[in-house]
């Protein structure tokens, strides 16, 4: 019988099966940020276990609140910084080089097909875009990952999504994943891997695939996974060109992680994207979404472009295309946080930052900031934000605030009109 991608990765990384169905896996990379790691470091120190399993396989970044906004966040940053120095962790990204973890680490080429990846962050599923098994975990799992390079998982079941059709105008990966979450619900994929197939996915850039996999957790999924292909190899080529004689050789090697045609799935779901329209959430759960046309007269106070979901170059390009020569509505505060310094620089070079600033946007440094309501755009009680982020929980962006999730195009159109707006008329 054939195997799914996750089953192949599990088999190749299996260290132990302490009980039937519980698999302890060897980890290829352990990713860290300054919100969930300091408390793990503190606990390891208290247990007299301040060690790391392999400094070259640990990657760390200060991204959630940077530059630090107060003594507490400065202390968290310091704990991570001191720890990285103490253990010789070379891939540590601080002010000037830091960006949102799930955008930065792939950009550095740290994620490869077939990898096992953990991080104390629920959106770690993003990295499955490369054909990796990537899962968010809590502090205790992170401690064990740092210490031993292993993590325990239940044997995964997989849901196969066959996503087919050409994306209509104004519809993007964000709309596809919002549609999927709306269809299966916020726990529709709990304890499941979401494996994405089909010609829509095959035609997507790596950036779009990351947007898609990023929100797997919003349906409860353990990891999103895309099949490694020529697009994956092209993206990774600068990092792997010394490992392989040619791109074809790399593709041949990575293809071993593709799911077998006769793999067994827990469920198979077909998605036809040709009838999709720009999609927006309306409630406090990511599965509560509607087509943009079904949400007339929904004013917004703030528009937020950024985050690990939609703060990459293609997101900035599409938003800039809509904003070019136009102005943000006088009732709206527009905030752009490019996800990494490289993206910010490229956006400056391409003239996109000029477009945003002329439209009236405030441009921040790369950081998570407002996405989790910690800095750089926290909402006041009763305020509403049109946002390209991934979570619309009550209070997520500030106590009493409301977040509508949408694509960068829909967010840009909403900035212009001061209410949730259809991007298609600007394209």
């Amino acid at each position: 019988m054939g195997k799914t991608t996750a089953e192949k990765i599990f088999e190749a990384h299996l260290v132990d099966e302490p009980f039937p169905g519980t698999k302890v896996l060897k980890l290829d990379v352990v990713l860290c940020h300054e919100i969930t790691t300091p408390i793990a470091i503190d606990d390891l120190i208290r247990r007299n276990k301040d060690r790391v399993f392999d400094a070259t396989r640990i990657k760390a970044v200060i991204d959630h609140v940077t530059p630090s906004k107060d003594t507490k966040t400065a202390t968290q940053a310091k704990i991570l910084r001191d720890w990285a120095r103490r253990h010789g962790i070379k891939d540590f990204f601080d002010i000037g080089a830091n960006g949102v973890c799930h955008a930065l680490f792939p950009e550095k080429g740290f994620i490869r097909p077939g990898y096992t990846v953990i991080m104390g962050d629920s959106h770690t599923c993003t990295h499955g875009a490369f054909g990796a098994f990537a899962a968010g975990i809590g502090t205790t799992d992170l401690e064990v990952g740092i210490l031993k390079g292993v993590c325990a998982f239940r044997q995964p079941k997989t849901i196969k999504f066959n996503v087919n059709g050409t994306l209509p105008k104004g519809v993007y990966a964000k709309d596809v994943i919002l549609h999927i979450i709306g269809k299966i619900g916020v726990n529709g994929a709990t304890d499941r891997v979401m494996e994405f197939h089909g010609d829509t996915i095959a035609a997507m850039t790596m950036e779009s695939r990351m947007t898609l996999c990023n929100m797997a957790i919003e349906a409860g999924g353990t990891s999103g996974i895309c099949q490694p292909d020529a697009t994956t190899v092209e993206y990774l080529w600068p990092f792997i060109k010394d490992e392989f004689a040619s791109k074809e050789a790399a593709l041949a090697d990575y293809s071993k992680w593709k799911a077998d045609p006769d793999a067994e799935y827990d469920q198979t779901i077909d998605i036809d994207v040709t009838t999709l329209q720009p999609t927006v959430t309306f409630g406090y759960k990511p599965d509560q979404s509607k087509f943009v046309g079904d949400m007339p007269d929904s004013p917004v106070d703030q528009v937020y472009l950024g985050s690990c979901t939609n703060g990459r170059m293609e997101d900035l390009r599409i938003a800039a295309r809509i904003l070019k020569g136009r102005k943000v509505a006088p009732t709206v505060r527009g905030i752009l946080s490019p996800a990494t310094p490289k993206i910010q620089q490229e956006a400056i070079r391409e003239g996109l930052i000029d477009i945003f600033m002329e439209a009236g946007f405030c441009v921040t440094n790369p950081t998570c900031g407002a996405c989790l309501g910690m800095s750089n755009g926290v909402l006041a009680e009763g305020e509403v934000c049109a946002s390209t982020t991934n979570r619309n929980f009550m209070g997520r962006m500030g106590k009493g605030g409301m977040v509508h999730l949408m694509s960068p195009a829909t967010a840009a159109a909403s900035a212009i009109e001061g209410k949730i707006a259809d991007p298609r008329k600007y394209l």
């Binding site: 009980f19 919100i35 309501g373 209070g395």
Partner: protein, 175 residues
Amino acid sequence: MKTFGGPALFLDRNDINTDEIIPAKYLTEITKEDLKPYILEDLKLPGFDPKGAKTKNARVVVSRANFGCGSSREHAPWVFEVNGITAVIAESFARIFRQNMFNCGMAAIELPKADLDQIFSHAADDDAAMDIDIEAGTLTVNGTGKQKTFTFDISPFDKALVLAGGWVDYADQKY
């Protein structure tokens, strides 16, 4: 091993997320104990008061489906732990929250909806309390004039973690 059981706090809603259990703005605290006052601060439910006596006395939380969804923050189990709550009973859990509970030596117990409906019928009792036996897999609800026992399954691995008091020591010895 921790002790389990005692007065129950009933949270009658699906999809209670970790932002509701402990808001992100408190993630800057470095010790578990500092989280204590902020338990369930952003949870809006009719009749629920995060600072009320029921929250304060609770040793067990009873809720519905997909409990603990959202962020990976282990601060969610910790804020329960420092408030004396060591077990959550629900119809289902989000994966990361469930594993965080067991990794800390706490219990995330799943029961079918029909059982939970019966347990929720005690929600109005001021003294509704639970006896929980992890080894035997039983949970007894003691309410005013009523008592009923339910059985549950937790995986052998998760049970081993509860018995060992958590995953760090277990893993450091073994791997």
